[in-house]
Structure formats: structure tokens, C-alpha cells
Amino acid sequence: MVELVRESVVMSYKESLAPGVWEGMSEEERDGAVRAHAVVCHNHLRSTMLRQGIKEELSFLKEALAEALEELSPEEHVTLHVDGICRAAAKKFFFSASNMYAKGKGATFLAWCIANHSKCIVNVLPQADLGTRLDSSTDVALALYMNRKLYLEWLEVRLAGMGAESKLETCL
């Protein structure tokens, strides 16, 4: 099916050209003119769209922050891989009544919010992310951005109390 569609794209493009133009094009020009991205699951279109952006994001961060990163101790587990940060946050903060991650502290975090910030809005992460969930790289980023002040305050309180006991919390 995919091959049939690809062939149709090529045929249709060739028909749209004046005689001899296609034959005069280099292999590279032909590839560029009829490049097609085939998907059999339209939900994965989103992941495909994000994949290249994530590569660019990493090179942008490396350029901007690599020197600053060298000044930090490896024990602090600081990373420029935002996907890694999103996964760590999803593990630490997700909250679900029926399914909990063993090292997750979503319930503790929410209890702390209720006790210390009774009028705040929290974007609760309802699912953990083990690196396979669709859209988690942007979904968790939204929660990270919305809850950033609460997350940071909670982490400061936690780390002040327990030191570097939890690698996940230290990393975050």
C-alpha cells in the first residue's frame, strides 16, 4: 500500500512537469522533489515531528550550557537531555489512585501542596513515563512548566531534609 502511494506521488509529479524535465534532474533533486514520509499509525506522526526538534534542542543546549555543566559535580546528575528530565519528573511526580511507581512521590508532593499552598493549581501527571509513552516529552514538559515553582520548592525542602539520598531528586 505504502509503495503504491509512493509510486503515485512520483507518477503525479512527473506528469506535472514539462517533457524531459524529470529525466534532466539529478538523483538528489528527484529525491527532494518526491520525498514522502509514510506512516501507518497516524498517532506516530507527532513523535516523528518532535524527533528532529529534540535533536536540535540538544545541540542548542550543548552550545549554550556545556561550559556551565562542566563546573557541576557528576554526582549531581545534571543533564542536558530534556527527555531524561521529563522522564525523571514523570516518575517522581506522577499520581494515580490505581497505579503507583515504587520510587514516585506524587502523593507526598500533593499532600505537601495541600498543606503549604492550599489555593494553588497543580497539573497532576496521571501516568508514569518509562520512555515509551506517546507525547510524554511535551506532556510532562507542560506539567514541569506549570508546576515549576511548586516542584522546586518541594525539592528544596526534600533535599534539605535528606541530602543526596535520592538520585532522582538530586538530578531534578
Binding site: L45, R46, K119, I121, Y145, K149
Partner: protein, 126 residues
Amino acid sequence: MLTVIRARAVLHLKVVRPMQFFTNSKEVGYSPADMGPVADSLYELLCDLEADGSKGMDIGLDVFKAVGDSPEDASPEQRAKDQTTKEAYKSWKLDYLKRQGQCTDASAKVPMWQLAVAGMFDPGVR
């Protein structure tokens, strides 16, 4: 670091969530073969952003507003299908922005995603 997390959050609200609607809506009923207009709109956005990234910071940006526009030579059946798509998308957007969340002590409800959008484009909003 916060900048890239914010950029991802903007992408989630402006691109990923609407695309989830187009792929999962029973009312629209799109299969992978129907995703052309969605992919075209996305491609147009990515080209625009490559030329000028600030275009992504428009709070009123609707990346997929052209999805459901019928071509001039569309059949009546196709026009009816496109109309359904347009109406379903419009209705989903309104519902999504109206969806409410409670504050931590349950004393008040707020339109959660409207607040998220506002916070994304104006970080002073909380």
C-alpha cells in the same frame, strides 16, 4: 533550560493536543490516509518557525485552522465531511479550554488549560 521546557509546553498545547484530537476523534473519523491536511498545516508551521521562531509565541495561533477547508472542486459528500471536521474541531477547542480543574483545597474551580495557555505566553500569569 526553562526556555526549552516552555517551548515544549507551547508545542504540546498548540500542536500535540490538536493532533491528538484529529487522530482520535470518532466524529472526524480520520484514518492515516486522511491526515494530509493536518500534515500540510504542520509542515507550514514548521517552515514558518524555521524562518521566524517568534511566530510560535502567538497566543492566538491556530495551527490547524485550515483543516476542513474544502477545495473548490470538492464533491457535496466531501464538503459535508469537511464541514463536520471543522465543526468538531471548533467544538473540541472550546470544550478543551473550558475544562476545569480544582485548586488544591477544592475551594475553587478554574479553567485549567486556559490558565495553562495564559501562563505559557505570559509567564507572569500564575
